[in-house]
C-alpha cells in the first residue's frame, strides 16, 4: 500500500533529522561506499568512538535508514536502507510542485500587469 502524505512527511522529517548531524552523515556515507559494516568497523574508519557510533546507529535504525543484521561471529552488521530517503525525495518533489504552482502564478501576475499597461500586447520571448 502506498504511504499517505502524512506518513511520507513523518518519514521525511526523520530523514532530515538524521541527516542534520555530520557524524551521522559520515556513517551513512561510509556504509554507502563500503557496504555493510559493524560498529567496530565504522569506529576504525571514522574519527569517533565506538560508543558514539553505537548511539548514532540506534537513531539511524529508528529512522529506518540502516538495518541491523547478523554478521560473522555474532557481531551485528549495519546495512544502509534507501527507502526512507526515497520518501524524503518524494516529500521534496511535492514541495517542488508547490513552487511550480507559485511560479506559474507569478508569471500570470506579471503578464496581467503587462497587459494592463500595454493594452493587451504581450511581450514574446
Amino acid at each position: 500500500m502506498p504511504a499517505d502524505t502524512s506518513d511520507i512527511e513523518a518519514i521525511a522529517e526523520q530523514v532530515f533529522v538524521a541527516l542534520a548531524d555530520p557524524t551521522r552523515r559520515g556513517i551513512l556515507a561510509a556504509l554507502a561506499s563500503g557496504g555493510p559494516a559493524t560498529a567496530t568497523d565504522l569506529a576504525a574508519r571514522l574519527p569517533i568512538t565506538r560508543q558514539a557510533i553505537a548511539k548514532h546507529l540506534t537513531l539511524l535504525t529508528e529512522a529506518g535508514l540502516v538495518t541491523a543484521e547478523p554478521g560473522e561471529r555474532r557481531r551485528v552488521r549495519y546495512r544502509l536502507r534507501s527507502a526512507p530517503m526515497q520518501a524524503a525525495q518524494q516529500f521534496l518533489a511535492a514541495l517542488a510542485r508547490d513552487w511550480d504552482g507559485r511560479l506559474d502564478a507569478l508569471t500570470d501576475h506579471l503578464s496581467a500587469q503587462a497587459d494592463a499597461t500595454t493594452g493587451g500586447k504581450r511581450v514574446q520571448h
Binding site: E9, A12, E13, V15, F16, V17, L19, A20, P22, R25, G26, L28, A29, A32, S33, L80, S82, M85, Q86, A88, Q89, F91, L92, L95, A96, D98, W99, D100, R102, L103, A105, L106, T107, D108, H109, L110, S111, Q113, A114, R122, V123, Q124, H125
Partner: protein
C-alpha cells in the same frame, strides 16, 4: 536529481528584472501572486515579511539577502512541521536578464536541519560541504 536538501526551479519570464523584482519584494506583489490575502514586508536583511491566505494560512519570513535587482533571500518555517519547531529553510531567488526578459531561479535549501542558532549557516555556503560528502550516498539512492 539532488539529494533531499534542496529544491531548484527555473522559469523564464517575458518581463524585465525590475518588474520581477517588484513582484517578489513588495507587499503588493507578494500579496497578489503568492499570498492571496495580502502581505507585509520590511525589505532589508533581518527584516520580516508575512503573507496571508484566505484559508487562514499564513507564512512568516525573515529576510536575509536583498541585492536589487538580482538576489532576494529569506528563511521561513518548514511547512508541515509544528509552529514552534525552530527549523527553517532558506529560499533564494536569483534574477538574470535574458534579452528583454528574466530568468528567475528559486532554490529552497536546508531541509536537513540544523539547530536554531546555526540556521544562518545554511546560506553561508555550508550546504556545499555536505553535498560532496553525500555524493556517494546519492549514487547509492539513485541506483537503488
Amino acid at each position: 536529481m539532488g539529494f533531499p536538501d534542496r529544491i531548484e526551479r527555473t522559469v523564464e519570464i517575458a518581463q524585465p528584472p525590475a518588474k520581477v523584482w517588484a513582484a517578489l519584494t513588495t507587499a503588493e506583489g507578494l500579496g497578489t501572486w503568492f499570498g492571496d490575502n495580502g502581505a507585509t514586508i520590511d525589505l532589508r536583511p533581518g527584516g520580516s515579511a508575512q503573507m496571508t491566505w484566505t484559508n487562514g494560512h499564513q507564512a512568516n519570513m525573515r529576510i536575509e539577502r536583498v541585492e536589487e535587482p538580482t538576489v532576494f533571500g529569506f528563511t521561513w518555517h518548514i511547512y508541515g512541521l509544528p509552529d514552534d519547531d525552530p527549523r527553517r529553510t532558506y529560499v533564494e531567488f536569483t534574477l538574470e536578464p535574458v534579452g528583454v526578459g528574466t530568468r528567475l531561479t528559486v532554490v529552497e535549501s536546508g531541509f536537513a536541519q540544523l539547530p536554531e542558532d546555526a540556521y544562518r549557516k545554511t546560506y553561508d555556503g555550508n550546504t556545499e560541504g555536505w553535498a560532496s560528502e553525500l555524493a556517494e550516498l546519492v549514487e547509492y539512492v539513485n541506483a537503488a
